[in-house]
């Protein structure tokens, strides 16, 4: 009979700490997705079920492109982390409600493949994939991206009675094209228009019009500390200040509530991967977004500047991180540096 030696079972070892908070990347992605949904539901009410279909196509294309590419590259398929879903959703939010069905599919696929996976996937993309997808569509099919607006149910494209040919920001940019500029500008700053802007009773991209519902989701993310207040406050604060200081016919509230500002400030500038990690850096990033947005709105070729401002600041993120390093505990100010 063979002698069976009892092998002592060894305990599992790993590095400290041995406990972890409940935070998970995939949970955060899901919470952000959920926080975006009220705006989508309201959008479907305003512009019809068509927007739901476009959003669904966008999400499926994003998830499909990610799974397909990872399979082709022999990588682990990571669609379960929820980041592709979020990219698809955000891209759809940046499309006009009347866009053809293939537009979100192409945009999402581009966003995932060229802006995200080819740079190494989640965590390694240097620009926001959804915004990169939007920029790609803007460059390739500008007319489809800027003309397919739908008026909301019971409202007008501009938020002003009788003016149906332009969104509020286009009106502000070129009021003379649509009638008497003075009257139009006055109407844009009316309480009525501001209220329509706040509730989303205007024409615009699928997900950007309702300030109210975006705010609800965005504030929830702030409370849950999933997004950083510095970026949001820096962005909106600097933007509002400049909108007040600089010569523009639009009022501060008009500027804050129109276009994609709220969507951008709460949901896209705050993207973890493409915003700075230092505390100071997040302020710089937010303020930079605000400054560039207002510059584009007032002097740029486009009526809106949110997406390009965020993309530009995304590119600066590594540099910002390097120049705004945290102060290490016990670090002394360099002696005699001022001499």
């Amino acid at each position: 009979m063979e002698k069976v030696e009892e092998v002592k079972k060894l305990f599992v070892v790993s590095a400290s700490p041995h406990i972890r908070s409940k935070h998970k990347t995939s949970t955060a992605m899901r919470i952000v997705t959920i926080a975006l949904l009220p705006a989508l539901v309201y959008s479907a009410y305003l512009y019809g079920p068509r927007v739901l279909l476009l959003t669904l196509i966008s999400i499926l294309a994003a998830v499909g492109a990610e799974a397909m590419l990872q399979r082709m590259l022999g990588k682990k398929i990571s669609v379960a982390d929820g980041s592709a879903v979020l990219t698809g959703l955000l891209l759809a939010y940046n499309l006009p409600p009347g866009a053809p069905w293939w537009l979100p599919a192409v945009g999402s696929a581009f966003a995932i493949i060229f802006a995200k996976q080819l740079f190494g996937g989640l965590g390694y993309n240097f620009i926001n994939p959804a915004l990169a997808g939007r920029a790609f569509l803007m460059a390739s099919w500008p007319s489809l991206m800027t003309k397919e607006w739908l008026a909301p149910v019971g409202g007008t494209l501009s938020g002003i009675d009788g003016i149906t040919a332009a969104t509020p920001l286009s009106l502000l940019k070129n009021p003379a094209n649509y009638g008497d500029p003075q009257i139009i500008v006055r109407q844009l700053n009316d309480f009525e228009t501001i209220r329509n802007l706040f509730f989303g009773n205007i024409g615009g991209c699928i997900g950007e019009t309702s300030v109210l519902f975006l705010l609800l989701g965005g504030l929830a993310l702030l409370v849950l500390k999933i997004i950083d207040y510095r970026i949001v406050v820096g962005y909106l604060g600097s933007f509002a200040l400049l909108a007040w200081l600089l010569p523009t016919p639009g009022s501060v509230l008009f500027h804050l509530f129109s276009g994609g500002l709220v969507l951008g400030a709460f949901f896209m500038a705050t993207d973890w991967v493409t915003s700075p990690i230092t505390r100071k850096g997040r302020w710089v990033f937010g303020i930079g977004c605000g400054v560039i947005t207002i510059i584009i709105r007032l002097w740029g070729g486009y009526p809106e500047g949110v997406s390009y401002s965020i993309l530009l600041m995304n590119v600066f993120t590594p540099l910002i991180d390097r120049l705004t390093k945290e102060r290490i505990f016990g670090e002394q100010k360099r002696k005699g540096a001022k001499k």
């Binding site: 599992v12 041995h18 406990i19 996937g121 915003s275 230092t278 997040r282 290490i328 505990f329």
Partner: protein, 430 residues
């Protein structure tokens, strides 16, 4: 209420053993006493195989200034001096003593005397002879901290009763049951260091301890419960608003910090001449039948302590010595309790999350109490870019674990930092 340091985390406390009075565990059959239980050089063995030893007998002599003596914790025979599993450094030369079942002390000890009759210099020698080290966990030789260079003007002595690690309650119980001893010990330190300010630092999750010490008429700083409030540098910052400079020591800002357990051990040494032969350990977790606070002889194998707590529930998956944030996972329960062992955690599950990609959420940056950028340093270490890791301050890391605790991608950041530090030290030795 003081909190006053940036970063930190709030893990669930799970300090249920805070209600458990300290139970004295009888001397075990065998003890395994490593000659290295402290920061610094291992002690030099004074005994050999076959020697008879009594409780309190010095079996290892401190080697140089930064070292500490070790003493027999049971009476019996030295059956071997060999390498044995060690809870911190893997394996170390240890003295194995088999009990003779007689609780015999060496003659010199247990004679009561008045510590006031001793001078400061004599007291430092007593503490050195007694092999006392910091019992909070770092196990730095206490006599060294009590002998600051003359040019350092010390004005404040902080006694650390924060016990910010979740689960652990050993210091808490000691403060409740032996407040007078701790205070008397602290006053000995105060006399040695000749300082005016003596402050007891206690977190506000131990209201009863705060009240006990206030009743004794000593100055208590009640601190907001936040991990790592008990880390030396964070504690000094919170109470005195002073920042220990990078690479510096508390004495650089006129401050010395000692743990409550160390004060207790110092008084026992000063008053009864008794060396450090036991300490209070919190035993807890879902894998042990009875969670307790136990007074354990130094060198007692973990499995004997578990037997005293009625044994394992079933074959456990994890055994951790220390707290859940900074403790060290053990592969075997043969390891002994040493001077720095504050807790024994027995867990039935060993779920280790798979490391995902960093999404640069900056939770680690927000959590780091040292103002580091953990994810950046981690990236440098992973790429073997040790110089950049050094430039970004990896040596300032106190390994508190806040970053890895918060990381949504489950990246074991502290693991990488320990590796990065060891690489820097290895290269500087070359």
């Amino acid at each position: 209420m003081l909190s006053g340091f940036a970063g930190g985390v709030h893990p669930s406390e799970n300090k249920e053993t805070g209600e458990c009075t300290i139970e004295v565990m009888p001397a075990p059959k065998k003890v395994y006493i490593p000659f290295s239980q402290h920061t610094g050089k291992p002690a030099i063995p004074l005994v050999k195989k076959g020697d008879d030893v009594k409780i309190g007998m010095k079996i290892g002599e401190a080697d140089g200034l930064i070292s500490a003596s070790v003493h027999a914790s049971i009476s019996g025979k030295v059956i071997d001096i060999v390498d044995h599993p060690h809870p911190v450094i893997g394996s170390a030369c240890s003295c194995i003593i088999e009990s003779s079942d007689t609780e015999e002390w060496v003659k010199e000890v247990n004679a009561e005397r008045d510590p006031a009759s001793l001078t400061g210099k004599q007291l430092v020698d007593v503490i050195k002879e007694a092999g006392i080290v910091g019992l909070g966990g770092a196990a730095f030789p206490t006599h060294v901290k009590l002998s600051p260079p003359k040019e350092k003007r010390i004005d404040t002595l902080l006694i650390n009763g924060c016990e910010c690690e979740p689960v652990l309650t050993a210091d808490h119980r000691l403060m409740l049951e032996h407040a007078a001893t701790i205070i008397e010990g602290a006053k000995i330190f105060q006399r040695i260091l000749d300082v005016q300010n003596l402050i007891f630092a206690i977190e506000d999750n131990k209201k009863d301890a705060v009240a006990t010490f206030k009743q004794e008429g000593v100055s208590v700083a009640e601190l907001k419960t936040k991990y790592p409030q008990g880390a030396e540098k964070q504690l000094i910052k919170a109470i005195l608003k002073r920042e220990v400079p990078r690479g510096g020591l508390p004495m650089d800002v006129g401050c010395v910090v000692h743990n409550v357990g160390t004060c207790h051990a110092a008084l026992i040494a000063a008053k009864y001449g008794r060396p450090l032969i036991d300490r209070v350990v919190t035993v807890a977790g879902d894998g042990v039948k009875e969670s307790k606070n136990v007074l354990v002889r130094i060198g007692t194998p973990v499995k004997s302590v578990i037997d005293f707590c009625n044994g394992y529930v079933s074959q456990p998956e994890r055994v951790i010595l220390g707290g859940p944030m900074m403790g060290i996972a053990q592969y075997s329960d043969d390891v002994p309790v040493i001077k720095g062992t504050s807790g024994i955690l027995i867990w039935n599950n060993a779920r280790i999350s798979e490391e995902g990609p960093c999404v640069r959420c900056a939770a680690c940056v927000d959590a780091c109490p040292m103002g580091l950028m953990p994810t950046e340093i981690c990236g440098f270490v992973k790429n073997k870019n040790i110089d950049m890791a050094n430039a970004y301050g990896v040596l300032d890391c106190i390994e508190c674990g806040c970053c890895a605790y918060e990381c949504p991608a489950a990246i074991p950041l502290v693991h990488y930092f320990k590796y990065g530090k060891s690489e820097i030290w290895r290269r500087s030795k070359k």
